[in-house]
């Protein structure tokens, strides 16, 4: 074999691959931004989860630092405003759980649980004579709305929880395939 230099053959004509040869056709340089592909739904869900975390922190701080004003705003009996401080601490917990974790799935599910507690608290306030029923109804509607969003985001995050998934739900089934395994087992493992 000759050394490499002498092997160089003059390039004549168009050496570029034919159109029919799909695999070797050089594609134009792809857009770098487009190469960082991430599922838009995945990104959107992540952003929504973060927004819910920030909302938790804001609401929690308000409940903790200004329970009187918040009670007035939501129609809750102002005498029960101290309860709001406890709810506020819980709310801050949700926020920290969501924002402090790379995978906010559990944090967002904890918000769904918190929504149920909030609804129970608002429902309990209806019996109180000092509560503002109109404002309470509006507050309940708001919690229901946010609760639905929480449940949706939590559910989507769970479906993206690939590391915990055992199988591959979209895969073809392998149940019912032919094999000689059953014959082997029926023979008591005797070859």
């Amino acid at each position: 074999m000759q050394p490499r230099e002498q092997l160089q053959i003059p390039i004549q004509g168009d050496l570029s691959p034919k159109e029919t040869e799909r695999s070797v056709v050089k594609k134009p340089t792809p857009d770098l931004a487009a190469m960082k592909y991430r599922d838009p739904e995945f990104v959107a869900t992540g952003k929504l989860a973060s927004a819910l975390g920030v909302f938790s922190l804001g609401l929690g701080l308000a409940e903790l630092l200004a329970p009187q004003q918040l009670a007035k705003l939501t129609g809750v009996d102002e005498e029960k405003s101290s309860h709001l401080r406890v709810l506020g601490l819980r709310e801050i917990g949700h926020g920290l759980a969501i924002l402090g974790s790379k995978k906010p799935t559990a944090g967002v599910w904890s918000r769904v649980g918190g929504d149920i507690i909030d609804l129970a608290f608002l429902g309990g306030s209806l019996n109180s004579t000092n509560s503002n029923k109109t404002r309470l109804a509006l507050s309940t509607a708001a919690v229901l709305g946010v609760g639905a969003l929480d449940a949706l985001v939590a559910q989507r995050l769970s479906s993206q929880d690939w590391a915990g998934a055992e199988g591959n739900p979209g895969a073809p089934t392998t149940e019912g395939q032919p094999s000689a395994r059953s014959a082997f087992v029926e023979n008591g493992g005797v070859r």
Partner: protein, 403 residues
């Protein structure tokens, strides 16, 4: 139906098993007319591949006639003659859309195992252990093909099986190996392993990528002879010569521009120390792969060259000279073949008469004879390079092509 089933290391048998059925809407059932034994089947036969279960049907190089299709398969109909790729791909996921079909995210039902072993799960493969899905293979009279709307390729009725059968694996695999080697016109390409994939890599490098020098490395005389005859290769018998020294000599001290490892995890080292250590480590479960060829390729390749690995590796190997790899600026490209990307283009090349892949066949036998052919193929007896199994053939009419 009859099928070739795995029962343990060096133990495969033709058993009677239930016929396959349509299990998913995107399934098709193929009546197998020809099916081959692949070199990578030997990794299963030799017990190198974990996650095999007794009774599994082997085989991933099948072709035949469509006898039934599921409601979701509209591109195939009863009576179509098809070649079935060894990879199962959904055609819709992130990876399939990028034509990285062997990396399909969807087709492997045992994805969790794949993630544990490799970080991410790869595509389901026909008849190739439960790590790759546990799908029943094609060394049988009938085969169920999942995602049949994406995988099988229709071939013209007039063309003999032997010309198109290898579209199922080894021809595209050899072609992709040459493509991955980033061959430039005039390059010298060294290929370790002159089995069928090595032969198709050499042939593709020469015919389709304009390589100038081809160097074939093996220790089986008839395989080296085939490389010389069919691919115009110069040869190195590693039992007789020092591969590194001979390669440098042949390339003026520069080293081959592109190196292709068509051997994989069961490399023999011709008595060299690192090969003996590998054998001890794999035998004592300290490593799964014998990486002698990869070491030698990194060592021999010219600076700034490319190493392409079509040979199958399964787990971990020791003492890969990553320092030489890095400092010499080598590029490493590898992967299971993205079959559906290559099959139509290579079928066209066969139809145009640019290549006749049947040159590789040395044995054509009935499915009943498969167990003894595994043994013959493994031990490279009787000049065996490629075995085609014919489920329709009577066991007594086995023939040897006598190349």
């Amino acid at each position: 139906m009859k099928a070739l089933c795995w029962f343990g290391t060096n133990d495969v048998r033709v058993e009677t098993v239930p016929d396959p059925e349509i299990l998913d809407p995107r399934d098709a059932i193929i009546k197998i007319t020809s099916t081959a034994i692949c070199g990578s089947d030997l990794h299963l036969y030799d017990g190198y591949m974990p996650t095999m279960e007794r009774g599994d049907i082997l085989g991933h190089e099948p072709m035949g006639e469509v006898v039934e299709t599921g409601s979701g398969v509209t591109n195939l109909k009863k009576g179509d003659k098809v070649v079935v790729p060894f990879t199962i791909s959904c055609g819709e996921c992130f990876f399939c859309k990028k034509e990285l079909y062997s990396l399909c995210d969807i087709s492997n039902p045992n994805a969790a195992t794949g993630r544990k072993v490799m970080g991410h799960a790869t595509a389901g493969l026909l008849g190739y252990s439960h790590l790759t899905g546990g799908f029943a293979g094609g060394q049988a009279e009938y085969l169920r093909v999942p995602f049949a709307d994406v995988g099988p390729i229709k071939v013209p009725d007039g063309i003999p099986d032997e010309k198109v059968l290898f579209l199922s694996d080894i021809f595209p695999t050899g072609y992709m190996a040459a493509e991955n080697a980033e061959i430039e016109p005039g390059d010298t390409v060294a290929v370790w392993g002159c089995g069928p994939v090595g032969q198709f890599a050499m042939k593709s490098a020469r015919e389709f990528f304009e390589a100038e020098g081809i160097i074939a490395i093996d220790n089986v005389p008839e395989r080296l002879e085939m490389a010389k005859r069919e691919c115009g290769a110069e040869t190195i018998n590693f039992d007789e010569e020092n591969v590194y020294e001979r390669l440098q000599e042949m390339t003026g001290g520069r080293g081959p521009d592109r190196c292709i490892d068509a051997v994989g995890c069961e490399a023999l080292a011709g008595g060299m120390l690192d090969g003996i250590v590998d054998s001890i480590k794999t035998a004592t479960m300290l490593a799964t792969d014998r990486v002698h060829v990869l070491r030698q390729a990194i060592w021999s390749c010219r600076k700034g060259g490319t190493i392409s690995i079509p040979g199958v590796y399964v787990g971990a190997g020791d003492k890969i000279p990553i320092g030489a790899m890095m400092n010499k600026g080598l590029t490493l490209k590898t992967g299971q073949t993205h079959m559906q990307k290559y099959m139509p283009m290579l079928l066209k090349k066969i139809e145009m008469g640019e290549i006749d892949p049947s040159f590789i066949i040395t044995h054509e036998v009935a499915l009943d004879n498969a167990p003894e052919m595994y043994d013959t193929f493994k031990n490279k007896q009787d000049g065996c390079i490629k075995v085609v199994l014919k489920p329709g053939m009577n066991g007594s009419t086995a023939q040897h092509n006598g190349h």
